[in-house]
Amino acid sequence: MFDLIIRSMTQRKMRTGLTIFGIALGIFAVVVMGGMSEHMTLFIDKSLKLVGSNIQVEPDGTFGGIGTLDESKIRQVKRVPGVTDAYGILITSLDPESGGGGFTGGDMVFGVDPEQQMKDAKLTSGRYLIPGDGYKAVVGSSIARKFNLKVGDELEMKSKRLQRTSSITETRNVSVVGILEYTGSFFDTSVQIPLDRAQKFYKMENTVSLIYAKYAPGSDSTEIARRIELSVENVKSKSPEQNRKEIEGQLVIFSLITISAAVLAAIIGGLSVMNTMLMSVSERTKEFGLLKALGAERKTILFMTMGEAALMGVIGGITGIVAGGILTHFLNKSFEAQGSALFAITPRLILVGLLFAISLGVICGTYPAYRATKMSPMEALRYE
């Protein structure tokens, strides 16, 4: 029966082409929007994984942005029962004049204690920071590519302070001692320098942005986080789970946009399949009547019409995925030159896109197929 489906499709090339194009366009939108969402999810997922299972302590009253905490709070956190160790990091923007910073975008400087350095991100060359390092830096892969850095090269940091009506910009070079491999997380756009040098350069002595508290494996991190909030003043404390939930909550809006695009794509693509199939069925009234008179079962006719719709879905889906893949590939290439990718076309996304396209075809082909099978052969044969 497959050859009959192909014949029916190729006989009406223009219409088949337009329908496939409609589905392809819908799936293309799903892939591109989904690719952005996937990239975001992966980025956050990897970032959270690399940050590890530490409780995050931040100043109370900051919302997503970066605040400041007095270093003395580290000691207070350490004293909280259940906490095995705590350390602070200072986060600032590499180039304050270009804006950026924050958890999900822009090049950032992390002032870290060399002994507490997160070593989950592997090095491609050089070494991690060691105690006693001065203005030395370990940079992420995107930073290295953007500034064309090798181990031993110098990188310029800027600090900007407001003084009355003018701002003072200071610069300072740090020498690169290590380059991290690509992680797909915020590490890629990070410059890690010793905490004390960061505090000095940015004139933020005794200050950190965040405190990470470690706890014994197996203990209740949510309970410990709550204890930290109770024992240390003016801090907000989040267990790894809470932190993840909060970030995922912020992703909801982004996901909503993606889903809306997908729904729109579904409506457009679906209507085009249904329209084509309805036209095809009414054009082929006589043919279906004849097939019935020749002894075709209802399921055979159902298979022929639904098969045609599904096949258009598959072809449209593959076309949309390939087109979306090509576009995002080139967009990523051009964004990578600036240091960061924007889309991630994952196998999961491809599968979803394909299933979506096929079900679109099948669902929207159901009604026309049903109409085709309901036809009385006698009436169909009289139909002109």
Binding site: Q11, L291, L381
Partner: protein, 246 residues
């Protein structure tokens, strides 16, 4: 004589070979509602057809001959009465059994040929056998055999648009025969062809009948009817005359 009241299975002995009837029709009725007025398209029709018989059903438009054909072909259901093919009452068959009965017992030939325009002559014959689940090789073999028999052995790869009306009708006859049906039902088979082609078609059908194929032709054309061995004339949903008894 009108043998519609004869009613006894295979005992009417009034025709041809004297074997068991392939088709038995008993008191067949079909009533349509035209608004609130009932229209009796078939009003108590009974007759038998024996294997190998070549029979024509004639009558003015609206006399019920096409309705009768669609009842025999299980394309429509009667209001009352029975149709037996090879002793099986097809009018009692479930809707789900209808396709099987149609493909195993009936071969249709239509006035306007009704070939699938996208398929070649060979594929048009092949398609009817697909629904029966015949193997691909066997289908190919049989399609070629049948097309050769109807004189189109050299046209198997041609599409309907590349064939003349008469050739198309011969493809349709080959298709109708592909599943070796008990009865070949031809609805105005010469209605859309010229006089010369009409003779070819009629000769073909006569030849098939001589080989034992039961054929029922519905026609307006008395020239065609006269070529058949038995003529049933319908009027107002009833059998007016049946030459079967001569």
């Amino acid at each position: 004589m009108n043998n519609s009241n004869n009613g006894k299975n295979g005992t009417n002995g009034d025709h041809a070979t004297g074997s068991e009837p392939v088709l038995r029709i008993r008191d067949l009725r079909k009533t349509y509602m035209q608004g609130k007025i009932p229209v009796h398209a078939l009003d108590g029709v009974s007759f038998d057809v024996k294997k190998g018989e070549l029979l024509s059903i004639v009558g003015p438009s609206g006399s019920g001959k096409s309705t009768l054909l669609s009842m025999i072909g299980l394309l429509d259901r009667p209001t009352d009465g029975s149709v037996f093919i090879d002793g099986v009452e097809i009018t009692k068959a479930k809707e789900s059994e209808a396709p099987r009965i149609r493909r195993e017992k009936i071969g249709f030939v239509f006035q306007h040929f009704n070939l699938l325009s996208t398929l070649t002559a060979m594929e048009n014959v092949d398609i009817a056998m697909r629904f029966r689940g015949t193997s691909k090789n066997r289908r190919k073999e049989r399609a070629f055999e049948l097309l050769t028999m109807v004189g189109l052995g050299d046209r198997v790869k041609h599409k309907p648009s590349e064939l003349s009306g008469g050739q198309q009708q011969r493809v349709a006859i080959a298709r109708a025969l592909s599943n070796e049906p008990a009865i070949l039902l031809a609805d105005e088979p010469t209605g859309a062809v010229d006089t010369k082609t009409r003779e070819v078609i009629v000769e073909l059908l006569k030849g098939l009948s001589e080989k034992g194929q039961t054929i029922i032709i519905v026609t307006h054309d008395m020239e065609v009817a006269r070529e058949t061995e038995r003529i049933i004339t319908m009027r107002d949903g009833k059998i007016a005359t049946d030459t079967g008894g001569r």
